[in-house]
Structure formats: structure tokens, C-alpha cells
Amino acid sequence: MAVYVVRRLLQAIPLLVGLSFAGFVLLRLAPGGPMAVYAQNPSMSEADMRRIERILGLDRPIHVQYLKWAAGMARGELGYSYRTGRPVGEIIRERVPATLELMGVAYLIAITLGLTTGIVSAVRRHSLFDYAATTGAMVGLSVPTFWFGLLVIIVFAGGLRWIPSGGIATLGAPFSLWDRFIHLIGPASVLGLWMTATWSRYARSSVLEVVGQDYIRTARAKGLRGRTVLLRHTLRNALIPLITLAGLEFRNLFGGALVTETVFSWPGVGRLYLDSLNYQDYAVILGLLLVTSLTVVAGSLLADIGYAAADPRIRLG
């Protein structure tokens, strides 16, 4: 097991090097640059622009810039933001908690709601509930996240005033759990419900698949009661494969979070990524690409380990 984990982690290294190189070159070949946005302001002359680009090293050849950056990476430094001069690691670190909070709660909503509806749908196959849940899940998957989010804000924040229309907490007010909770409802539901749909569909088909298998039929044939079969045999075997899904969904969750964070002014890494792209703040963009892909890799590794732990038939190695 330990060998397996180490090997998987080692495999991630070339992945990251390749990713960083490709990302660096692509970003630097793009037209524009980190200082371009400031050129909208006419008091910055062409002379000022060139002086700043020289100080920041942006006038040097791409390979020189990459080697300098890679050398920093080897020492564990992600470089400095062109916008603020701050270390990229620090910039990313302070945005992570907000995203974790949002993704965590959304995940929780998705797994509990998704699994419950999925299982009930499967057990009561072809029932009214099944049709309603299936249709609901499909509709949930068919509405663009940003649109759903805006509608939630317009109806529940602007119109009914039930929830705030964005942000992570009331500004200028002392910290309170209730306040944090009420701010979370909007973005977490938008992100969570979209994932709920995925989970319920997977749970449903996974349960149906297990129900159709021989040993369940055998268990029933042995005269075991429906509930016992369901709990002891079906669910256990049906849910184990979903652990892999948890790992895979991580990647989509980041994507959904980026849009949700923009709509709900949520100060997380997704919004940071978009802002950095708009400013072409290369150092932060690359840092975020590396950090998110590392997270995704770690997520799927954890899922695989969890899968192996839950299912004795699987042996990692």
C-alpha cells in the first residue's frame, strides 16, 4: 500500500513538470501581458511601461524566464504576483479556506441528498418518486450554473430578501455562525444541487446494477427479508464504486466553484483564477493550475485508497 502511494505520488511529478512547462510557454506566448491592463490609463506612458517591464523581467526571453521560475519552484517558491508583488503561495493560501468551505458544504449536500434520492429511486423503481427524482436531476443538470445562481439572487435575495446576495459574511459585523450560514445557503445550494443531480443518477444506476447481480438474488432466494438484503448486501456493494466518483467529481467541483464564486462574490480560488487571467498575472495563474491539479490528483488517489479499503477484493499495487 505504502509503495503504491509513493509510486502514484512520484508519477505526479512529471505530470506537474509537463503541466508547468506547457502552461508557462502557452501563457507567455499569449498576446498582451501582466502590465497591459494598466495601459488603459493614459498617464502611464510607453516609457513607464518599458521601465516596469524591465524591472519585472518581462522583457527577457521566455526560456530565461522559465528557468528562473522553475528554479524558484525547485526551492518550493511559486514566485511573486505581478499585480501586488506578493508571494503567490500566500495569495493562494488565503483563498483556499473560502473555497473549501463552499465545496465542502456543497459536497455534503450533494452526497446526502444525492445518495438518498438515488437509492430510493432505485428501490422504488418506476414509482412516481423515481420519475420525479430522475426528471428533477435531469433538469438540475440542464440549467447553466451561472443562470441558476443569478435567478437565486434575483428571486431570493433581491426580491424576497431571504438570503444575502453575495459575499461570505456581513461586513463590519462581528463573526457569527448564523451569519456565515446564511451567506452560504445561496452559493452552496447552487453548487450543491447541481452535484446532487449527478450523485443521485450514479447512485440509482449503481444500486440497480447490484440488485441485478446473482448474489443478491441468492440472498433473496435464501429468504432474507427485503430490508436486510438492501442494507447488508445491496447498499454496501453499490456504494463502494461511488467512492471513485467522489474522486473524479473533484475536478468538476472546482469548475462549478469558479462560476458560483463569480456570481456570489465568493472570495475563493476560482474567482482568484479568473481575476488573475483577466490581468494575465502569470505567476498566480500557474500557481493555481499546479495547486488545483495537485489537489485533483490527491483527490483521486484518496478515492482509490478509500475504494481499496472498502472493498477487500481490490488490492492496490
Binding site: P31, D48, A98, G166, G172
Partner: protein, 550 residues
């Protein structure tokens, strides 16, 4: 871009007679109540659609950030909504009359306000001002702009309360330049190992302004609190918060629900103006600006070198639907880069441009562009077709582009839209004149000096270090621009700028469409809010803001 270009003002005669008045027009509610005496306490949240991130006013900046700088820092003087200089860190505005400016207009003596304190309790002195200027001019500092500051030959201190500086040559806009210099503390920054990356910039800024920095929560907000030892009137608020709300629709919703008390730099989109008018909880301000929206052709392209081509395009442009339907009649049509309120505005050019598609067609026929089989004109095998770019996602500009596309199509001209994100558009593409045509906002400020945009020595694509990125060259225009800035007498300058506007109206180096207006909303109960088109960001007088208790 609403930031003024180089607003230059006639300073020798003193502040009282300055430029045109561009006061706020309260559309509804504003000023309906007598303000009364300011009450203390409370907080105000200003919503911004861009995030302020760097709080060192010397560093590269965006507009939203400048508003925060104005609350934390002070400049020597500010410009009020009427265009008058108001002393801030200076005790008085230097003029020849009060002996602050030498006869030849190059030596300045500025008396500073006594008893001003930094947020950390240290006394402010003339040395801080000298340090700020030297920092800006330091070639190792990524200072935002040295334009105008480089006209100062030297700056030194008389005593702690006296600042002296000498210009290389007479330079009319120097007071404006200094109104945009926010003073940073020598006692903090002189020790810095690398001022470009110092924590001062993002974590521990120290100023002399009405509000002290408390915290910046990345991606969310900046909190400031009252600086009780502030030298001016106020501050009356306990706290001032700048909140980052990237989506403009959501920002407007937050103004409606009271989650923000005032809308920041991009204000209320004109599309939401009709709805904003129906809200009883907000005061609405429609604030004229000195910036204008224009189509600019790239004069490096042979096609646009011919004046008659530019005239034909302008004749084929109907501003009415743009101004009346897209801008709901709020923004005035622009004829020239000089706004009609300015002393330098030449009334004779009014009505010089008319929408006349038939004349446009005749003109294009005359210069050899004949209508081809697909309705697009052709000359020597080339189609009369070009691209037009603007900042992707700027809805008003995109609407204008699409309208133009249709209007020009009717005179046989094909315009293709190719928009780019700001970080690409304002890279080499714009700066080094690689575009074909562009829709862009340009600022004049309240002084008509416009060399940076029009003088042939400022073309970056030809080695110039200014912002004449349309690459326009015309010896007569150069001469008039030089005459306008060299002469210190307003009547003589007027002659030069009147003539300049006539030349431009005939030459059409770019095609002005309308003058910008800023639409802003504040919660009812927020008093002391004064829009000011003479400062680049409106939270310019936050020390005077206060909340009326219900």
C-alpha cells in the same frame, strides 16, 4: 479610462478662475433634503466591480484602487467638483500672487499644513513629499507614471513645513500632476529592502488621510477605520469598507437590498438606469465627465491615411440612436475631444458633423471605392473591409459596434467585430498600433492639452513614448498643440485650441461619438457624497461623508 488624461489647468492666475463647472446633477432625491450638521458614527460600504489590491499609491493602479488611495492618503491639493484646487497637505495653493510661484513660472514654494500626523502617530513633514517624488523617479521602482513628475528638475525641503521644487521649464499642468501624487511616509518606506514587494503595499499601508487601513480580505473587501487625528473636516464615519462584487447585476441588487451603500467606479449600468429610477431607497446621480467615446482608425494603414475616407465614415455614422436609445438620452453627443462646458470649446464646430449617408457614398465614389457585387465597395481588387476591436464584454461598446456595423454596411463598408480581453487589447495590439479600428474611451480632463494622444512625437509604433497609438501625424496639429501648452495666457491658448478643433473637425483623425456620463447610486441617508468629474475616482471626499440617523 474615465481617468483624465493629463488634465492641465491654468494655474498662474490662481485657483478661483479655473475651468468649467462640471457639477453633479442630482436626478432625483439628491439634495432634496437640507444636509444639516454632520452626524458622527456608522459605516459605509462602497461596492466595487474591480478589486483593489495594491494600496501603495505609487504602484501601478486601476481606477477602483485609486478611490481607496484617496481615503488612506493625502495629496498636496485636490480639485473640487467646480474645478478649483483645494489645499490638502499644502496650507495654500502656490500662485504668483501669493509668492508661491516665481515670475518665470519654474520655481515653487509650498507651505505645508502644520500638525498633520501619519496613521502611526509620526509627524508629517516636507521630507515625506520629497521622498515620494524621489520614489516615483527611482528607476528601480515600478512606479506607475513619471509623466509630469519628470518635469521637476529637483525637489527639496526648506524646513519641515516648507517644500520647494524647480521645473526644468515652464509646465502648465504641474498642479494637476501633483494633485494625483499621494504622499507616502519616508519613515516607513525608506527602510524597505524592495519597495516593489514591500508588505506596506498590501498589508500595512500608512497614510495621513481620513481613514486608516485595518485589513484587506483578499477577494472580498478592504476595511478602513476613522483616523481621529485627521487634519481636515471629519471623518464622521467610524468605518469605510470597499467591497468587491465582480458581477454588475449583483452589485446593483446589493444596492437595492442595502448590502452596499454606494456603487463604485462602474456605477450603475445604463441598462439598469430605468429600474434604478423607480427605487425610493437610493439617490441617483448622473454625473457628466470629460471623457469621450470614440472610434479610432489606425493611421498606419493606407486606407485610413486618406482624409476623405475618414470623413466618409464619419458622415455614415448616426449618433442619434446611440445617444438616445443605448444611452437613453443621458450622454451628450461629442463633436470634438473638448467637452462643450470647457472654456476651450469652439462653438463653431457644433453641427459640423452631420449624419449624411448620401454624401458619404458620393465621397467614397469620388475616391475610387465603387460598390462591388456583394454590396461592399472595392478598389484595385481590395474590399472596403476592416476589423474593429473593443474590450470584450463591455456591453455598451458591443452594442455600439453592432449598430455601427449596420450603419456602415449601408454605405458599402464592411466592419468585422473582433473583441479582445483588456489584458490583450491594451498590450502591443493597441499600444504598438496593430489594430485596424478600435472603440475606446479617451479622457481629456478639464484642460484641452491633448499632445499625448495626437502629437506625432508620441507614436509608440514609431519610437515615441506617449500614447498616440492611432499613429496620427499632422504638422499643423503638432504646431497648435505645442503652442497651446507653451503659452501660459489663456486667451492665446484659446486661439490655438479653437483652431485645433477646426482642423480636427475637418481632418477627422478619430470619430468622437459621445461624452461619458457616470451613473451612480447611494443609499438614502448617506450625506456629503459629491460626484466629482475632476478627480479620477469619486470617493474623493470620504472625510465629508456622514450618515443621517433615521
Amino acid at each position: 479610462m474615465r481617468r483624465h488624461d493629463l488634465s492641465r489647468r491654468h494655474f498662474l492666475t490662481g485657483a478661483a478662475t479655473l475651468g468649467a463647472t462640471l457639477g453633479a446633477v442630482g436626478v432625483r432625491g439628491a439634495g432634496a433634503q437640507a444636509p444639516g450638521a454632520p452626524q458622527k458614527g456608522g459605516q459605509v460600504i462602497v461596492g466595487l466591480s474591480q478589486e483593489p489590491q495594491n494600496f501603495n499609491p505609487v504602484m501601478p493602479t486601476i481606477e477602483a484602487q485609486r478611490g481607496v488611495h484617496m481615503a488612506i492618503y493625502d495629496d498636496l491639493w485636490r480639485i473640487d467638483p467646480k474645478g478649483a484646487f483645494v489645499p490638502n497637505l499644502a496650507a495654500a495653493i502656490p500662485t504668483q500672487a501669493n509668492g508661491g510661484v516665481s515670475k518665470d513660472g519654474t520655481s515653487f514654494t509650498v507651505k505645508l499644513r502644520p500638525g498633520v500626523q501619519w496613521h502611526d502617530g509620526q509627524p508629517f513633514t516636507a521630507r515625506d513629499v520629497v521622498f515620494t517624488w524621489k520614489t516615483i523617479m527611482n528607476p528601480k521602482v515600478t512606479a506607475f507614471s513619471t509623466v509630469g513628475f519628470d518635469q521637476i528638475a529637483d525637489m527639496w525641503t526648506g524646513d519641515d513645513a516648507t517644500l520647494k521644487f524647480k521645473l526644468k521649464q515652464p509646465y502648465a499642468p504641474i498642479l494637476d500632476i501633483l494633485a494625483d501624487m499621494f504622499v507616502v511616509p519616508e519613515h516607513v518606506l525608506a527602510r524597505s529592502a524592495d519597495i516593489n514587494k514591500d508588505e506596506f503595499n498590501t498589508r500595512r499601508p500608512v497614510g495621513t488621510g481620513p481613514f486608516k487601513f485595518v485589513e484587506w480580505v483578499s477577494g472580498d473587501h478592504v476595511t478602513l477605520e476613522a483616523h481621529r487625528a485627521y487634519h481636515g473636516p471629519g471623518p464622521y464615519l467610524d468605518r469605510l469598507i470597499f467591497k468587491y462584487v465582480p458581477d454588475l447585476t449583483v452589485l446593483f441588487t446589493q444596492l437595492k437590498t442595502g448590502e452596499v451603500d454606494a456603487t463604485g467606479i462602474q456605477g450603475i449600468p445604463v441598462d439598469l438606469y430605468p429600474e434604478a429610477r423607480t427605487l425610493s431607497t437610493i439617490n441617483l446621480y448622473v454625473d457628466p465627465s470629460t471623457s469621450y467615446e470614440t472610434i479610432a482608425p489606425n493611421h498606419l494603414l493606407p486606407m485610413f491615411k486618406d482624409r476623405r475616407m475618414r470623413q466618409a465614415l464619419y458622415l455614415g455614422l448616426d449618433k442619434k440612436p446611440i445617444v438616445e436609445k443605448i444611452y437613453l438620452g443621458l450622454a451628450p453627443e461629442a463633436e470634438s475631444y473638448v467637452p462643450p462646458q470647457s472654456w476651450a470649446y469652439n462653438p463653431k464646430i457644433k453641427g459640423h458633423h452631420r449624419y449624411d449617408p448620401e454624401r458619404a457614398k458620393r465621397l467614397l465614389d469620388e475616391i475610387g471605392w465603387k460598390v462591388g457585387p456583394d454590396g461592399i465597395r472595392v478598389k484595385d481588387g481590395a474590399r472596403l473591409s476592416f476589423e474593429n476591436a473593443c474590450t470584450a464584454g463591455n456591453k455598451q461598446r458591443e452594442q455600439i459596434q453592432q449598430l455601427l456595423q449596420q450603419q456602415w454596411r449601408q454605405i458599402g463598408v464592411e466592419m468585422k467585430i473582433n473583441n479582445k480581453p483588456a489584458a490583450v487589447l491594451f498590450g502591443d495590439f493597441y499600444r504598438m498600433s496593430k489594430f485596424e479600428t478600435i472603440v475606446i474611451g479617451m479622457g481629456m480632463g478639464s484642460d484641452p492639452e491633448h499632445s499625448f494622444r495626437l502629437h506625432s512625437k508620441y507614436i509608440p509604433a514609431k519610437g515615441g513614448l506617449g500614447r498616440n497609438s492611432i499613429a496620427y501625424e499632422n504638422p499643423e496639429v503638432d504646431r497648435l498643440l505645442d503652442a497651446g501648452v507653451r503659452d501660459l495666457d489663456r486667451e492665446k491658448r484659446k486661439t490655438a485650441y479653437f483652431r485645433l478643433q477646426e482642423v480636427l473637425a475637418d481632418e477627422v483623425p478619430y470619430l468622437p461619438i459621445y461624452h461619458f456620463v457616470n451613473i451612480r447610486g447611494t443609499r438614502k441617508g448617506l450625506e456629503g457624497f459629491r460626484p466629482n468629474s475632476n478627480m479620477q475616482e469619486y470617493p474623493w471626499n470620504t472625510n465629508e461623508w456622514w450618515i443621517r440617523k433615521a
